[in-house]
């Protein structure tokens, strides 16, 4: 079958990045109210680049090949660093790179890119190849779009250029650009099996630590099917027919809200923003799905399911709630997790006394405000030292943040829970909340905190020469 990577009538390749256009949009919404993504501060910048962001979004398409066009380190330093899990194919866990050398930079790397695409297509026979630009290939003006287009025609599988070199901006902008690539080259290019039931697209759920599987199990037991996973544990093909879904659920709004909005206007698919952190949010999300599917029977099933699950959960949570009640936490994470995890913690009786807002949209901040009291400190930016300060000042018992801050917390001997993409524990859904409760308890109750704080016996004694 001859496969065209461009949907019908759409002959334009993906537009190159224009800065002005994106700066205002980078924070996640098509028409932001305010607060464009700030320029990273030299000497004080933290976090990944757009290239990183694009990969975070697209690497969970597990059966596709992901080829990095650039010098080796962009791939070499980053592959296998994300906690997204696969239930089957593992090709996306391979690290592919064109590995440009001095002479490639001087004479151009397009030939190498072409050969690499052919090589990967022949040896691994993937359903599609994603090609990522990097700072250097963008700088020397490689025409990646043309190479990809020609390759797609030659080898008969989609070859998708992802124009998200690191220097265009933040990780979030990269998420967005990846979403744009999906809109332009993938969504709408395929059709589902004729008789298969259609349901919900999960957008911005990357199956970190297998969270997607917990969510899917829940949805299925309420009779809701997942049409496309965009992109946790996804297969390429299912994303091609995402436009046939009845509902879009935006799990991480900061990353891919624009994608949902565009799909609404293009394909009239209603969307909602939701989360699976905490029982309340999970119940709300499931109800919202059923409501937007416009299926009374399904709504009833969801009600029965959520009642049953919530009852069981509150039974299971009882011993942990007792231990966690009144504990204080500082939460430092980005986007949707900033507010949804607050809900989850509140259900456990944990008070959030500080929360990071540096990577949140206006809407996220509003949602945070809805969920926390007045005495919660907002941490707009400032990295590790700022977080530590808040923990100390607010007398927090535990810090909940990403892996990058984990060892900072260890140095300060602050109990810590990893909430970001490198973690190994799934916290979504009812099961996830129970897991979070357990993790918090284990972390707080660990004997190490007492041991680490106690000095060696000879340090306790007064030194002999002091007498």
């Amino acid at each position: 079958m001859k496969y065209s990577i461009l949907s019908e009538g759409d002959e334009e390749p993906m537009d190159p990045v224009r800065k002005n256009e994106f700066d205002s949009e980078a924070c996640g919404s098509i028409a932001p109210k305010a607060k464009p993504c700030p320029r990273p501060k030299p000497g004080e910048a933290a976090g990944g680049c757009s290239f990183d962001g694009a990969q975070i979004t697209l690497l969970p398409i597990m059966d596709a090949a992901h080829l990095v066009h650039g010098p080796i380190a962009c791939a070499g330093n980053s592959w296998e660093s994300r906690g997204t899990l696969s239930s089957g194919p593992s090709l996306s866990q391979y690290g592919f790179a064109t590995d440009l050398t001095d002479s490639d930079i001087i004479f151009g790397g397009e030939k190498k890119l072409k050969d690499s695409i052919d090589y990967i297509a022949e040896r691994f026979a993937p359903p599609a190849i994603f090609v990522y630009s990097t700072c250097v290939t963008a700088l020397i003006g490689e025409d990646m779009d043309a190479v990809c287009r020609a390759a797609a025609e030659r080898i008969g599988i989609p070859v998708i250029p992802v124009n998200s070199p690191g220097f265009v901006g933040s990780k979030n902008l990269g998420n967005r650009l990846a979403g744009d690539a999906l809109l332009q080259y993938v969504i709408g290019t395929g059709e589902p099996e004729p008789m298969s039931p259609l349901g919900v697209n999960l957008i911005g759920e990357y199956n970190i630590a297998g969270e997607m599987w917990d969510i899917e199990k829940l949805m299925n037991s309420a009779g809701i099917t997942v049409t496309s996973r965009i992109t946790g544990d996804a297969r390429y093909k299912e994303i091609t027919y995402a436009h046939r879904a009845k509902v879009n659920m935006v799990v991480c709004s900061r990353a891919l809200l624009g994608l949902a909005k565009e799909m609404e206007s293009r394909y009239s698919i209603p969307y909602f923003e939701g989360s699976f952190y905490g029982a309340k949010e999970t119940t709300y999300s499931l109800r919202q799905m059923a409501f937007l599917m416009n299926d009374r029977e399904m709504e009833r099933r969801v009600d029965r399911l959520t009642e049953r699950e919530e009852a069981r959960l509150s039974q299971d949570l009882r011993p942990y709630r007792k231990l966690l009640k009144g504990k204080r936490a500082v939460l430092y994470t980005g986007g949707v997790k900033s507010w949804s995890v607050i809900s989850a913690l509140k259900e456990l009786g944990v008070q959030v006394v500080g929360v990071g807002t540096n990577k949140s949209t206006e809407d996220d901040v509003r949602r945070i405000a809805d969920r926390v009291g007045d005495d919660t400190e907002y941490i707009p930016e400032g990295g590790a030292s700022r977080i530590i300060k808040t923990v100390r000042e607010r007398k927090a018992d535990i810090m909940i943040a990403g892996g990058r801050n984990m060892y900072v917390a260890m140095k300060e001997q602050i109990p810590f829970i990893d909430i970001n993409q490198e973690r190994h524990k799934a916290y979504a859904g009812y099961e996830g909340l129970l897991r979070l409760a357990k993790e918090l308890t284990y972390s707080l109750a660990n004997p190490i905190w007492k041991l680490a704080a106690s000095p060696a016996p000879w340090d306790k004694e007064a030194p002999p020469y002091d007498r």
Partner: protein, 442 residues
Amino acid sequence: MTVNRRKKPASVNPMKIGQSLGAVLALQGCYRAMPLIHGSQGCSAFPKALLTRHFREPIAVQTSALQEMDVIFDANRNLEEALNLVLSKHRPDIIGIIGTELTDVAGVDYQNMLKTYKRERNMRGGLAFSVVLPDFRGSLESGFSSTVEAMIDEMIQQVGHRGSRSVNTRQITLLPGSFLTPADVMELKEIISSFGFEVIALPDISTSLSGHLLTGFSPLTRGGVPLDSMLQSLQSGLTIAIGGSMERPARRLHNALGTPYKVFEGAMGLKASDELLHFLHQISGEPVPLRYCWQRENLLDSMLDAHFQFAGMSALTALEPDHLYSVSGWLEELGVEQKALISSFETPLIAGMEREVWVGDLDDAEVLGKGADLWISNSHGIAGAQRIEAAFMPAGFPVWNELGAYMSVSVGYRGAMEWSNKAGNLLMQREAGHRESSVRHR
């Protein structure tokens, strides 16, 4: 022998690590230092994440956070801004500015900018240097050694030519290669000092990345060799370099100050340890401490115990060049067949090896090492080792599937013994697994 390459257009499952990461690692071994990567945000975010994952410690690094327009118009404006901020906020003793492929391709002249900056700010007392490390050349190892060389250069500029040198013959400068763990550096320092020498390791990750409970967060490096010790090292009577890549920095000291140097290319196994201890014995005139005589016997005995395990076994090794050389020497002593040796890039040391070496990636390792019983590489090799059903032994950088990997010792008799036992245990477990699966249940 020759260095081979498999012909294929793309790199599949790379083991190469960006040079700039090597530079960041080197600077972690200096007290109150700040590596500043001149590139886009990702150029520092990836190394930071990877180093944090391997060492399980906070890592000091900053970036000039270049964006598209900065590269086109004036990248150095960002660097200046970053320098101002880092200097005024953290007051580091040492700043290493690390050029990336981005600044290299764009042709940014930050060396000159740094010179002017230092002159204008009247920067004294600290050490600020720059080093060009694009990722399309070399790997972690070359980035590390180039950075140490640049550091030494700057020290010589600052002090070396000024005044006379009073050589301290009881003091040795140790230049540990990038493949050595914090515990390795510690062990080497102990071995050398047990012969009555003062040792200054340059850099010294053994006191910064080995895990300590200092409280109070600092964005700068904590632990490592302090600046005054670094400058003091210029008075050393001898330089000992571990790993072929450290010869250049050692030669730099020799050329500028006349400090004699000795390079130990291999650092693992009985022979390499013998060579080191014998050398120290000769130059110090001291007897070899009893502890090492004991360790030598322990090692030989454990090799005798383990030789049943290693007999008929084959190994594939995929590591950075110096490390590969070192591990290969150790495998040789165990009598293990060396199925394939794969290096991340070519160095003179590798080219001069008696065995056949391939320059390539972990996909090449999988193809060339088919049938091997033991797979030695960084943690990226886990999947490949599973596919060819070899026992997986993590080594090199990064290792994330094991706790305490950064504290394992590979040098000296103790290191060889630790590694031999570990590899033997892995093979034993694998054998037990096979036996279990071949038992027929009725």
